[in-house]
Subunit: 458 residues, 2 copies
Amino acid sequence: MQSILSCADKDLIESLNRLFDFLRIPSISADPNHNQDCQKAAKWLQNYLQDMDFKVQICETKGHPIVLANAPQVKGALHILFYGHYDVQPVDPLELWQIPPFEPCIRNDFAGNKVIHGRGSSDDKGQILTFLEACLAIYKQNKQLPLNITVILEGEEENGGEHLPAFLARQKDQLHPDIAFICDTDMAMPDVPAITAMVRGLVGEEVKIYAANRDLHSGLYGNAAQNPIQILSEIIAALRDEVGRVTIPKFYDGVPEINQSIRQQWQKIGKTDQALLDPIGLYCPAGEVGFNAIEQTWCRPSCEINGIMGGYEGPNFKTIIPAHASAKISFRLVGQQDPFQIRENFRIFVRSRIPKDCKVEFVSYGASRASMISLEGKNLRKISKALEEEWNHKTVVIGSGGSIPVVSDLQREFGIESFLIGFANVDDCIHSPNEKYNLRSFHKGIRSWIRILYALRS
Amino acid sequence: MQSILSCADKDLIESLNRLFDFLRIPSISADPNHNQDCQKAAKWLQNYLQDMDFKVQICETKGHPIVLANAPQVKGALHILFYGHYDVQPVDPLELWQIPPFEPCIRNDFAGNKVIHGRGSSDDKGQILTFLEACLAIYKQNKQLPLNITVILEGEEENGGEHLPAFLARQKDQLHPDIAFICDTDMAMPDVPAITAMVRGLVGEEVKIYAANRDLHSGLYGNAAQNPIQILSEIIAALRDEVGRVTIPKFYDGVPEINQSIRQQWQKIGKTDQALLDPIGLYCPAGEVGFNAIEQTWCRPSCEINGIMGGYEGPNFKTIIPAHASAKISFRLVGQQDPFQIRENFRIFVRSRIPKDCKVEFVSYGASRASMISLEGKNLRKISKALEEEWNHKTVVIGSGGSIPVVSDLQREFGIESFLIGFANVDDCIHSPNEKYNLRSFHKGIRSWIRILYALRS
């Protein structure tokens, strides 16, 4: 294994060149103008995987294709399913990017650390390549991998992931993995390796409220005509009470108490309000009274307004009452919260607040349950040890506020647990302008996976 | 006078051609891309007025120019100041226009009436030309006008009218008008002539709320980080109480009781909730409980959200918490409400609801008082009679929910009352797509002004 680690070190520049090629493809799944780029990213992965003897299929869906690849069989060895996504978030507001989002480069950050810049560098192309480059390093030395490996790379993770569940269901009879790896999460702290054991679920809803049959002059109709922005604002304001709890009936059904020992572990590694909020320029935790910032994001359900629009927001002023207004609203779920029940109760909540002469429409964007893996078991122990050897720090079990619906899909279809192991950092600006990935994360990420694959061989 | 009316009838096609030339100039004052078009509209008016011997100055301001024109003096006659505006509202959403906004034409409406289509046809270019074409018809016959006439046409009425008050103040010593005419209002009902005696004031404010130093992943920060859309929605929701009253402290200071005889007059001409709301597809009066729709728009102050924006509102979904959100909010004022006090109290109201680690910025867009003219006096009587002769219906005194700040400016600078006489109809879609002006309004509007100018001669 040491010779493979050395090989990975030696080939780092080539690994980076491959990552840069991948990052240059603007595979924005939410924007139909980039459909061809998603195809291109899938094709790029196909060529890449074929070069190390994977059997690769590009599986078309009604949306973006899914790349399915199997390494040559290794009899008697563990079967790993690795999942990642090749699509990226939209890049607006473009004017805030210091470097064009699809022209990756390496720069020094303010502390002198080398960082890889570009949309997808951290979420998720850079992280995918930590695993694949680990496989490539082993393949180059040994011409074969130590385990059975299936790779599934989807192109709709940032856009609801609509077609993945049906795809996985179709693989149920062909694939029999023992364990899944997902590389799309953060370290516990810089240089502190983590296995993310709790992932929040997600319900995404768009609400569109329609009032008058056209935009109105706000003087001629002001007061007398319904204003859809006012209606929408009142609904949004009503979604949380004065202590920050979400007010939708039965919203908290299935939300577990927070495990005290886990709570203490997080305090120990310095997960304070300040640690979360300081880098983003805030210092008062919002949301639910009685929980600190990290508990709120890892263990408590949330409701966030992701976008709102209505009326005139161009230069200067236009005195209108708009005909309609809309908002995109998402809920993050924990424990046993039921996404479909929450969607239904949310819609009832909204409908009951729409005046009789107005209309409301809903558009659904994905619904997934939260998930949590067991904290006992030999694989977890082996992986923790492998990570510890690379990073010289005890591996910490953490949660994630984000949603990785595939975790519950894999549990349902294959009955397997997903180990979420990532090397990103909280300041990577994923989903924001100026996304980056530390060069150290990329390099030691590759080395970590080499160690993990060898640790699971026995 | 009869021969002049006949001349106006005969020349209607030429009058329309001149109006169409004027309407083709996209003089959108709120959009800096149309600055040159505003200049062009002013120049067009200069040529037009010079052709009937007015002495014309184009008075530059820091914004769009003001056209000031004086007809040759008529010794001993009344001095009229006519005010209008050559600028128009923005045209978005453009896709809702059945005919391009700056390609005017005449079509039959669903009832077979001829209507003039185009942005500005009703607000205010078409209305301006009813007066100017009346002057032109008289000039063509007599080579002089019966009264002293000053015309002031501004280019920023739809955009705060920032530079007009200072301009009027500068004219104070040169101009000594006896009475003002403004043609920017509606008839009481189709074919029922009206003099608008009450006009609401306006305060326009933009509110921008800033939270985190960048857009955030709503999973990783959801709950814990302030969401500026949530904060803004809570502020908007708090602006009205459960009976629709505006909750800003002292907001209703100076709001008068509604005069009972005026109330009855409006009931008599059929100004019901249904008459106002039915054409716009609504049927439940919003706003303040205890006032019908017309009372709410003519006699009660209001608060309207004219625009809101924050986060991602493109195709599909983006799970972010935005760094900032903004709204444009306007207040319509009545009676003695003080616009500057209301602005100040509004800002205090908003600031008190901003979390400590967030920021708020305000941009001010105009502030004007409400105004009301005396219902006694011989000019009102003469004008009412002239209108009655043209339309064969008693002239009704009405209010307007819109704001025409120039009315209080003229009162302040010249000590004169403004007679608001317009020929628009409530279904003219001003400020909306598919703005129109009835051909009948244009034609009989010209005839009405001829009658009024002659009525005031004696």
